[in-house]
Subunit: 331 residues, 2 copies
Amino acid sequence: MPTESEIISRVRRRARVSGRVVLGIGDDAAVIETAPDANLLACCDLMIEGVHFRLDWSTPRLLGHKALAVTLSDIAAMGGRARFAMVSIALPPATSSDFVDEMLAGILELANRYEVSIVGGDTSASPGPVFIDTSVIGECEEGRFVSRGGAKPGERIYVSGELGSSAVGLRLLQMGIRVTADTGGGTRECLLKHLSPEPRLVLGEAIGRAGIATAMIDISDGLSTDLSHILEASGCGAVIRVADLPTAGCLGSLASTDSGIDPLNLVLHGGEEYELLFTSAATPAEVSDLATSLGVTVTEIGETTAASGLHVERNGVTELLEPGGFQHLAE
Amino acid sequence: MPTESEIISRVRRRARVSGRVVLGIGDDAAVIETAPDANLLACCDLMIEGVHFRLDWSTPRLLGHKALAVTLSDIAAMGGRARFAMVSIALPPATSSDFVDEMLAGILELANRYEVSIVGGDTSASPGPVFIDTSVIGECEEGRFVSRGGAKPGERIYVSGELGSSAVGLRLLQMGIRVTADTGGGTRECLLKHLSPEPRLVLGEAIGRAGIATAMIDISDGLSTDLSHILEASGCGAVIRVADLPTAGCLGSLASTDSGIDPLNLVLHGGEEYELLFTSAATPAEVSDLATSLGVTVTEIGETTAASGLHVERNGVTELLEPGGFQHLAE
């Protein structure tokens, strides 16, 4: 394992840092210029070997990417722009220098792409598993954040992208399937959705700026659970239409070859999708224009109701849906 | 181990939260109102069982206190005011609810005392050791932060409090001595300095506001190492006078009973003191007036020099001092 000062100098060499970072990595704390009339957004996420990932399932580069991606996704879900990040990493003493380099490369490539400045962090030996904790500071115009609690009855519910592939990816990994040079098609797509999710930062920020969402969350625990979080915080209910759910293309082909895969179950309850789920009182045209302008698929999947509870409508029948909490590997 | 939502509700119930926290724990990210004309300060610190602490040496309450204290100390060392904190905790599944409550109590008692709002965090099961990462966001007036790099030759060097007791505390713990109802006097003082350091937030903020320091750091790695950080960042050297070093009172009594304890070595190289070390071009009266007004002891211990290197003056002889890096338990 490289020393902390070696790790710091590697990060410094490769990180793109905004002009608003007055003092970056290397002092007691980073110093950042505040923006006028902004709200700060702050969040953090832990990823632990054996709980959230396994080293033999991924590569250090994908791991670094995912550790930062899941926290950036939280900023997206607030309608904000991610600006600054800190990364705390604990690694077993025998960790190779290459492993550290690759993990940093995964973190930095993602941070640089979204102009997120890495401003600090900490490193330590770990007497146990690999631990990564990422903290992100974002911003939005004052009052323009999108919480979970603003939905009202009669609004439309939207989700970005397609659902179910991350849960399939996890399933495939558990079955022993890995990303190799030969892995192609739907299998590759599902594995990478799980191992290397892309945070919806551009969409999230645009939704916040446009003021088009009344409530928003990212899907980390599964559509049913995360929509329930919105409904609880907002004090309303919802009906979602099974026929309208955007099912990832790879699910169909895999479901036909593996009878254990139930596409609808995965779409409704599969976690770690990192798609954005939001409610909106805007017209469907406003939402689709925004999505089209960004080249992102956004699908209307139902509406909020005055009656409480989460319901699904399927073949003309409406039933109560219990949230099916997504479980990480060992939680 | 309590669930994440149980932990969240316990924190929410007991945390004092500033009016600037628009949205606290429980959404995707916290929302904070920015202060006009301020610089943000951001830092984080990892504490890992077996590396930074042992469960049989401390109590969960002291552990929670220390995990936040070390990060608050970094904000103090920037001359800033700590405002907001996030805490990521990973615990073995068998961890008792009481352990979690006590650890949170230690964190919250310290946060509430300094009006630091806990605005977020993450929890997870740990398949290995206890892992705590605290992130703190602080503030100072624009441009009023104190980095490590501003010292110039011919300035006075000061340190707060007394030195050496944390290292003695660590030594006593390694020898099997614990804090019990019967532990008194110097032994208790040294053990608690190590297990429950008090961040110098009031002094640090006052130094920043008064613009009285040219460079500052907190002593986490030891006086010799941390002063060397200032000298490297500032591009100058220093002489410190052994006769002027503020040696913790408990060192003398323990040194006389344990021949293995060399007080000077501990004062020069002992880590985890979390005292503030700073350089100043102000008059000694200005510094002592500030310290007196806060009821804090601040001692002049030497001065910066144009000649590079860290030197000590002892009995009229000046010698080069090699930084003696403080080692955590297992790093």
